[in-house]
Amino acid sequence: MSDSTKGRLSRRNFLRVSALAGGGLLLSTRFELLGTASAATADAAGSLSTHVSISPDGLVHIVAQNPEIGQGVKTMLPMLIAEELDVAWEQVRVTQGDLDTDSFSGQFAGGSMATPMHWKPMRVAGATARAMLIGAAASRWGVSADSLTTDAGAVLHKATGRSLSYGELATEAAALAVPSADNLVLKTPQEFKILGVSKPGVDNSKIVTGQPLFGIDVTLPGMKYAVFAKSPVYGAKLKAVDLETVKQAAGVSHAFVVRGDTPLSGLQDGVAIVADSWWAAKSARDELVVEWDEGPTAAQSSAGFAEQAELLSKGEPTQVIKADGNVEVALGAAAKTVEAAYSYPFIAHAPLEPQNCTCHVTEGAVEIWAPSQTPERARDGVAELLGIDKSKVTLHLTRMGGGFGRRLYNDFVMESAQIAKQVGVPVKLLWTREDDMAHDLYRPGGFHYLKGGLDANGDLSAWYDHFVTFGEGKKFSASASMGLAEFPQGFVADYSLVASKMALGVPTGALRAPTSNAISFVIQSFMDELAHAGSKDPLEFRLQLLDKVIAAGTKTRLDAKRMRNVLLLVAEKSGWGKRQLARGSGMGVAFHFSHRGYFAEVVQATVSKRGDVAVDQIWVAGDVGNLIINPINAENQVQGAVLDGLAQALQQEITFEGGAAKQSNFHNFKLLRMAQAPPIEVHFLQSEGDPTGLGEPALPPVPPALCNAIFAATGQRVRSLPLANHDLSWT
């Protein structure tokens, strides 16, 4: 899930072609991916591949290989293949592939990686099949391949007006040698007919008629239903439980203790209750009496973290993440300095489909239906847990009711495997919403103690951030770190990012735009404070910072020109500086670079005298390369990410007391509602480079843009989230 994952595609590829039983062509392509993979995307290493088959009736069957969590990948990857294959989209039928590490790779959903990883290999797969179909037509007609063209699933010989459909050629094509990828010419964007043209989701018909698609919908003959009761405090050990009473409950067939292991995100101690229906299992669990030994985590709380952070901020930081120049000297020499303390809370992922997994363990084999963003790791984990070879584990991918990073972790898969092993028949484990809130791998909270310096012109001259976060020794808790080159590093000569850490007993994990979703609030809000301190327009202040780097030609992690362009675009679209707004209304701007995407956003908000915040409108300008592959979905993703950021800023927080999360369901962990969703205008700059992912990078600028708008509206600077905790009333 991090920007550090940079997959490079090598030119080597391996192709297997075989005739389909009953005629037709089955194409399976493997591409080697070279590069480094961060821990969160270990699945990215290896080979990439895809499957296409063309049946004699001309239908093109494309296997969607990646997990669909609502990001639209089940539609997008097949579009890439279909484009180069040169078929009409109407001919394409998409099916969901199982986990198949021999044929596929990169079968995961994370880090907005599907587009950059598969952009070329999927198109090469399509182009390869097309070349073979052309080859088959050339030998049938005795003409040169060069004299042939294709269109909408047919090979054409212009000179004679002859044509043959792919369906008629598929069987002959399958007998041909596979052409080298080096000899393939891929289309230029100007030639695209499918890419860049809106394609509604391939599962829409099934979704609107309520057909079973999701993990929770899996039903197997003889299947039983399970719940799994754990302590609300992470890592607690089970001391005592009355299983006998539970076993007497109506419909219950099994009740037993599962012992956990130690690693975070692994299996925890708990009580499994298995019954004829989920309702029976859940009802029995409501009566369950368990005694836990909660361990040291029970002493942790959000209030405690805040106190500890305040203390640590006054001491020496324990780690230097990045230091350029001499920030102390620069602050001393500054014409003006600003100091501020920022913080953000833990938050939960809360995908709408509660965690579930269906598993059947038989003698020597396991079959799993897993709503997992990392199915390969799920399979390998189950193999290890049950002590069997991973070749004996079959894993089916299901559509997921949201992911947001939560399903990168397979704790619920491990639980279902462990339970199914003891029961012998297929078992569907389903968590309650309360389980999901209590057992998340939360987006970690964090604290930043900042100092900024301005020179006599009001330009940024020093930036110091003491980041108080979670971890031990050199190690940060998951998603609780910051990069070496996070903006404004590289944009100010004297820059220092240092850290202190607190031990944490609660597991944390990647949430949509991990780390960025939190630090963007801090960086872009403090940037705003500095702009105002130097009496500059916040947009102008940012532009000047970017311009200086552009003029100097300095290399920075984010491309200052691309960021400048989205900033200018959002200024133009939002009418920045041109609108007359009444007191209580204001506009705020912010930008952030993450997951290879450039996003600048303007929020207009109105704060009532009572202090209620209403967001009037949001303008988004994004740059994710030279093409928007599927515009109708791109807009939906960006609007969703923006509203996700808005919900976080307005009203989301997980607080810990006695080591346990206080929030338990949607009454106290609040998702955004229809009435809170403002109009969102989305504009894309189609710039340079291959297209990159869109699931995440639009989120991070929202919280700071909103808080900057509130400052413009009321003069109140918000330095901690969520806004619901602040009294924003004014007179």
Partner: protein
């Protein structure tokens, strides 16, 4: 205990414990998976169906309470996806993950029965208790207006005697 009701137009009898929520009767006893579980606490609307035409949450609704009632689920809106709300949802490409959408569509179809042309304000209040974690709200709003147009178009066509669908 045996409980009779009408499900998507068909007489249905289930033999279950009477306090089992209708949601679980639909999903696990009748194997109709369109109606979804999101919170189990009447907070999210994923489990919305029509009971005698009214949008109703089912995760806390004991099945005995629908004895003799007419229940319509997403599967009963139309099996082939030709209900105007279904058409609009596909055309506007509302779903992201799609998990909440059955509940959204059942709330919308009930709303349009009583208010064929809702304003944005009326949409806000009618849809306030249907959560979408993917936040497809802009699309839902657009699709509601589009559904209303489709229904109006159908009625106009019927009224003008063309009978076209």
């Amino acid at each position: 205990m045996k409980i009779d009701f009408t499900l998507n137009g068909a007489a249905t009898t289930v033999d279950v414990t009477p306090d089992m929520p209708l949601l679980w009767v639909l999903r696990d006893v009748l194997d109709m998976k369109g109606t979804k579980f999101g919170c189990g606490a009447s907070l999210c609307g994923a489990c919305t169906v029509h009971v005698d035409g009214k949008a109703t949450r089912t995760c806390r609704l004991p099945v005995q309470d629908v004895k003799g009632a007419k229940v319509t689920t997403i599967e009963g809106l139309s099996a082939d996806g030709t209900h105007p709300v279904q058409i609009a949802w596909k055309e506007i490409d509302v779903p992201q993950c799609g998990y909440c959408q059955a509940g959204q569509m059942m709330t919308v179809s009930a709303l349009l029965e009583t208010n064929p042309s809702p304003s944005d304000g009326q949409i806000n209040s009618a849809m306030n208790r249907n959560l979408c974690r993917c936040a497809t709200y802009s699309r839902i709003r657009k699709a509601i207006h589009h559904s209303a147009e489709l229904i109006a178009g159908d009625e106009a066509a019927t009224a003008s005697g063309s009978g076209a669908k």
